[in-house]
């Protein structure tokens, strides 16, 4: 589904190279966790996959469902099934959740040749999916993320994921800032959305989310390169020993 090959990415403003040759293959139905210390390039990887401005790809390729992902505008990527759960969800004063999500859901559905939802059908879907992450149904009247608590914002990201039914979901530090109860709710939401045709790339600094959402593969990103890959037990080792034992290497990155 997703093939990242030797991806080099710099910051547009100052040319600083952040990703220094990332190679990663993700197949449908798999859950990949990407871990690593602060500043290793985890969020940059998520941003580049979703199409955020401000980065330049200097080398390498990203093929998604057989086509060049980097060539697509961010909204096109989303309609093609790529979803990014933001580390810092954006507040949109004056844009109601209902209006926002209806536009989003229907543009995605239209693209997939699915029937555009009527107002009634949409509200029903919204109510159903909101329960998944225990969001108050009254949220439809509220402006997107405005006045939401930190936990609500993160649950709102997973709620949107559920509404948009992507094929590739990238979660950028969805666990950060969550207390243990919220973490459980969010994890259960994610688990209920796992399926054989949907892949997850979960970016996290800590192992604790992976206690609930069991990954198929764990990769360690250090200084812009994947320096170690393994199964779920690798996350436990990192929790135990930290990142210090992993030195950036010049050798070829390990593919999953």
């Amino acid at each position: 589904m997703l093939e990242i090959k030797n991806l080099h990415v710099s910051i547009e403003d100052d040319g600083t190279e952040i990703l220094k040759g990332v190679t990663l293959t993700v197949n449908a139905g798999e859950v990949h966790a990407i871990m690593g210390p602060n500043g290793s390039g985890k969020s940059t990887l998520a941003s580049v996959l979703a199409g955020r401005d401000g980065y330049v790809v200097t080398e390498g390729s990203v093929i998604y469902k057989g086509v060049d992902l980097l060539d697509m505008a961010p909204d096109k990527r989303a309609r093609e099934g790529v979803f990014l759960a933001f580390q810092y969800p954006v507040e949109l004063p004056g844009v109601s959740m209902a209006n926002f999500l209806r536009q989003a859901v229907n543009s995605v559905r239209e693209h997939r040749n699915q029937k555009v939802l009527s107002a009634m059908e949409f509200l029903k879907l919204m109510k159903e999916k909101a329960q998944l992450v225990q969001l108050d149904p009254s949220l439809k009247q509220r402006a997107v993320n405005e006045g939401f608590s930190g936990g609500e914002k993160k649950r709102n990201e997973i709620f949107q994921l559920a509404m948009l039914e992507p094929t590739l979901a990238i979660l950028d530090e969805t666990d950060s800032g969550l207390d243990i109860d919220a973490l459980r709710v969010v994890s259960e939401g994610i688990n209920s959305l796992r399926s054989s045709d949907r892949a997850f790339v979960i970016i996290t600094h800590y192992q604790r989310l992976l206690d609930y959402v069991i990954p198929d593969f764990v990769h360690v990103l250090v200084d812009g390169r994947i320096v170690e890959s393994g199964g779920k037990e690798l996350a436990l080792k990192l929790e135990d020993q930290g990142y210090d034992w992993l030195k950036p290497t010049e050798s070829d990155p390990i593919t999953a």
Binding site: G51, R52, A73, D75, V90, N99, V108
Partner: protein, 442 residues
Amino acid sequence: MIPSLDDNNSLEAQFLVAQALVAASATNGQTDGFDAFREAGRIRFSSQGFPAPRTELWKYTPVRRWLKTDFSFDSGVGFSELPSSEYRGDIGSYHAVCVDGIFIPSLSSIPDKDEFEGYIGAISKAKMPLDRLLSHLETINPRTETAFDALNQSFFQDGLLVHIPHDTELAEPLYITNLVTSGSNAFMQPRTLIVAESASKGAIIDLRDHDSGITTFENSVTQIHVGSGAQLDYYHVFDRGPLSHLIRKLNVYQEADSTCSTNELILSGALVRTDLNFLPDGEGCTTNLNGFYLAQSDTHIDVHTMVDHAKPDCVSNELFKGIIGDTATAVFNGRVLVRQDAQRINAYQSNRNIVLSDTAKMFSKPELEIYADDVKCSHGATTGQIDSEAMFYLRSRGIKESVARNLLLQAFAADVLALVSVDSLRERLQEIVAERLRKQSG
């Protein structure tokens, strides 16, 4: 430099020649009671002249540029029926229609005496004693006087009076439709006087939205007197299309414990200059002055506001928002003056603008002048582009760029439009603004 008025080619000369004809025909050899009023205007206009280039108050609007035209000062063909209006919807029983500033009873629907004890009609036919009428018409704060007020005064023939008596409420919002006749390059100088007596209440919607498709120029003066304890909501919509020009003066005079809420909505025009002046001249006044301007194509919009806090214990809330695109220019100059004796004033001002293109210009200038020491005043002005992170968030959910931009612009305008208290007008405005923004985004 003001050109010499002896020079027949000066910009002022054609106005003074036309004014002499108007003044002569208005009185027809006899006094109509307003000759001294006109003459006072003429003298002030002659001595001031139009704003010279580089005049601070007209810095970004070199108005002489637009005045170098052979204007026609006569009304053209009138209207046999009422043109439709996107803003008005169904006509209720409170609807005054003016053509070139002259009240037209046959096009208006005014409630009868049993329903409404006040008066909505021509100033010349009002039962209000002439000296009271004149004193209202002459209420101009000398701090905010311009040559255009004086010019309008010097051309005075008639105008619209809305008189809401003491302790009376307008049962429905009153719509005023202002039309301009079809003479090309018509220069019209309408005048509206609204007197809301003490403890009265009402909402008035003043529409200049009919686009006749030809070049028009209006130099309009609206005066509002809000009596003690009265509550008046006043909305002004300007949307006459790309060939229309408006110079507008609004003077609001408030007595003690009154509330006046206004919303100034400007959606099109070649040139729009509005001076909105508020004088809360009694204790316990509330003044809400809000506005929204959408400047597209090569529109030039210049909004000057002034709240002159002359008395203590008053509140003013000001919110103006603008969206400027294409090669348009917009100016916001918001002045708040708190005089020395005006203690315990709360005055808030906010101006927010979004500029959509590299060729669009926005000049924003808040001016706070505070001479009292026990006041709470704040102001904020921002001019920026659409938030790129918000755009990315929307697009990352599959929403196309143009739709995303439209959503954010609508959201930007939402809070100031929400301040329109007349539901039907607010809903229509929201739709019209959304439609215009869709065109802008597409």
